[in-house]
């Protein structure tokens, strides 16, 4: 189990490594807690407000609890044109939650994301690090079953 101390020790007091540090802390903890933000700020000698500001600016970071599996959906034009709205409805229906929410059992979080750069196989979603493309609504239950 990697701790915040391990991560901070690796980067030293370099404030320009803040984004890399936040990536690693989030990977270890699932999301960025208030405590971890204060700890990182202290270690880098930065105001906590600055670290919080960075953490909330970038869409890959979350300061709210999230499910174990993050489902990211691209709803920009190339995916939209090829049917992303129907994929979103299928995901919401299958999981019983709306976009931005987490399931009661904390297994899944549904999030919008900016383009994931696989527009050649749109519409696409990303579950954790795995990308699924050429989607149709009927493929969703099968894909989700691998994570249940």
């Amino acid at each position: 189990m990697i701790t915040i101390d391990d991560i901070l020790a690796k980067y030293g007091r370099r404030s320009d490594a803040l984004i890399d540090i936040l990536h690693e802390v989030q990977d270890a903890q699932g999301f960025l807690t208030n405590d971890s933000i204060i700890k990182v700020a202290d270690a880098l000698d930065l105001p906590a407000s600055k670290v919080y500001g960075v953490a909330t600016f970038y869409s890959m970071f979350s300061v709210k609890p999230r499910g174990r599996n993050i489902i990211r959906i691209c709803e920009s034009a190339p995916c939209h044109v090829l049917g992303a709205p129907a994929i979103i409805s299928a995901l919401e229906k299958e999981l019983g939650i709306k976009m931005g929410e987490t399931t009661g059992d904390e297994k899944f979080t549904l999030e919008y994301t900016s383009c994931i750069g696989v527009c050649g196989v749109a519409p696409a979603i990303m579950i954790n690090d795995v990308v699924y493309g050429n989607l149709t609504p009927d493929k969703i239950p099968h894909i989700l079953s691998e994570y249940r």
């Binding site: 984004i19 970038y58 890959m60 920009s76 034009a77 939209h80 527009c119 050649g120």
Partner: protein
């Protein structure tokens, strides 16, 4: 070095990876081993071959047979019939392309059409994880020539004479940009590679990084030599896991061979590169926002001037180049500026890499000479519109580009001609839409994107994107008002003139071109409260 009688290239670009190419590659290796052919046939994972929608694709050399999509179940047949017995498996040859011949040669004109590969010269023909293969294709020869035979000023001169303009979207002359930084007096200078491609519809940089990472390293090192920088950073989108991994591997290999680090080629020139990972913010593609992000801040653009060329990373002179721009550098050094000027147009020499997406038969990555027409791209390379539908519009240059109607299909695709048509070539995203789509619905989708991605630092962009989205949303829910069209035009003008960075300046472009070319559809939504295509929910 071992020799093989046949090479099987498996596309390892991200679209193919998610089509299951890793499983296909493993199955090939296993099956080749089972048939006792391991010492005769080599399996190579390569960069993007182009036709992403056919993935996973493989090419068997020396025949150049192009198979796709290949499933794991197909592998034993290909190995037994083709690799063991020498008979091409007709059934699995990629046929959805507009091809006539039985055997599809990878470089056959029927498949490539009017394409010309300079940037993608190595993508799909070599193993991107092997520095030796890159060197085998003249890799690092340009860097060697620069540092051992040319003065920095001569390198800049060659790039200036080539007429290369930046491929990130702004089309600024690359040689001139280098010259500004070269002339700046400072103890430290930097080269930044902008690999934060967030434009929806674009994935060319990702596939260049994954297909030919060493050409980016080489381009950066040459830039470093030309301007007097010994340090470079590659800022890659956090979402691009494979790109980051492959780039890191390439940097390590180059360091091991002394192609990065101290005293390169014994010339006294030193240069090294670090990767920085983004965290998901479209605005970080803007050069000053990218610099802020590398420094560990919120990615909010700085006011320009001063420009990064003299006041960039940590206030030092910094060259910021796009991935595709850098991939053009070593071919120009090796073949000369005149050769490069032989492609493309007078004002825009060279080629452009485009990603074809949307309602088009052949989706994927293409590279064509500048100045090719939109019609050629869609019908000669893209295979036309699927399902017997009609072409309605093409958005060029990504979400911040304009939408062109059927009447402009013959516009030449270069930075200046498209700008004159009110659009942009931008990052090279081409989104094709058929006649089933509603203009207002698509415009609302664009504005939702910008509303989310505006960094919020300047008011015209923050409030403007929000208001434009609101107007689109009202129009598509039957609450549009007559004065909205005029309001949109005014908002757009204020945003273009008063926004701090390219995001706010470009965000109204799609709306303005749609108003110009598809005004009647807006009117139908607002005046008649009907959607002519019946798709936006009105």
């Amino acid at each position: 070095m071992e020799f093989y009688r046949s090479h099987v290239l498996v596309c390892g670009g991200t679209p193919c990876v998610l089509g299951g190419c890793k499983a296909v590659r493993d199955a090939l290796i296993n099956e080749i081993h089972r048939q006792g052919l391991s010492r005769e046939i080599k399996v190579v994972e390569t960069g993007c071959l182009g036709p992403c929608d056919l993935g996973p694709v493989i090419v068997v050399y020396p025949e150049g047979t192009f198979y796709g999509p290949v499933k794991v179940e197909d592998v034993p047949l290909i190995v037994e019939e083709h690799l063991l017995k020498g008979r091409i498996v007709d059934r699995l040859v990629a046929r959805e392309r507009p091809v006539e011949k039985e055997v599809v040669k990878y470089e056959a004109p029927t498949y490539l059409g009017p394409q010309k590969r300079i940037v993608l010269r190595n993508c799909g023909v070599m193993d991107p994880e092997s520095v030796e293969e890159y060197i085998g294709r003249d890799g690092y020869a340009a860097l060697g020539r620069c540092v051992s035979q040319m003065k920095p000023g001569e390198v800049i001169d060659e790039i200036k004479r080539s007429g290369l303009v930046g491929r990130g979207g702004a089309a600024f002359p690359t040689g001139l940009k280098w010259e500004f930084t070269a002339k700046a007096d400072a103890d430290q200078k930097y080269i930044l590679c902008n690999a934060d491609e967030g434009e929806p519809g674009t994935f060319k940089d990702r596939l260049i990084l994954e297909g030919d990472p060493h050409s980016i390293i080489e381009g950066m090192a040459i830039a470093g030599y030309a301007v007097g920088a010994d340090k470079g950073f590659i800022y890659i989108r956090g979402e691009y896991a494979i790109s980051i991994e492959r780039m890191q591997k390439a940097i390590d290999q180059a360091r091991r061979l002394g192609l990065l680090g101290e005293n390169i080629f014994g010339s006294g020139f030193s240069f090294d590169i670090e990767i920085r990972k983004g965290a998901g913010a479209y605005v970080c593609g803007e050069e000053t926002a990218l610099i802020e992000s590398i420094e560990g801040n919120r990615g909010e653009p700085r006011i320009k001037p001063p420009y990064p060329g003299t006041h960039g990373l940590w206030g030092k002179p910094t060259v910021v180049n796009n991935v595709e721009t850098l991939a053009n550098i070593s071919p120009i050094i090796l073949n000369g500026p005149e050769w490069f000027r032989g492609f493309g147009t007078e004002r825009c020499p060279g080629t452009k890499v485009f990603t074809l997406t949307g309602d088009i038969n052949n989706k994927g990555l293409i590279e064509v000479p500048m100045g090719i027409t939109l019609r050629q791209v869609i019908y000669e390379i893209g295979g036309g519109i699927p399902g017997g539908r009609e072409f309605k519009m093409a958005q060029t240059g990504g979400t911040s580009g304009g939408c062109l109607p059927r009447e402009l299909l013959d516009v030449p695709m270069d930075y200046f001609s498209l700008a004159e048509a009110g659009s942009a070539l931008g990052s090279g995203a081409l989104l094709i839409m058929d006649d089933s789509h509603c203009i207002v619905d698509i415009a609302r989708c664009f504005m939702r994107f910008f509303r989310h991605e505006s960094c919020g630092k300047c008011t015209p962009c923050r409030e403007g994107t929000d208001r434009l989205y609101e107007i689109m949303d009202m129009a598509s829910s039957g609450k549009g008002r007559a004065q909205d069209i005029e309001l949109m035009a005014e908002l757009a003008q204020v945003m273009q003139r008063a926004s701090l960075c390219g995001l706010g300046q470009a965000a109204p472009v799609p709306v303005l071109t749609m108003l110009k070319y598809f005004r009647d559809e807006f009117d139908a939504h607002i005046a008649d409260r009907t959607c002519p295509t019946g798709t936006c929910g009105l």
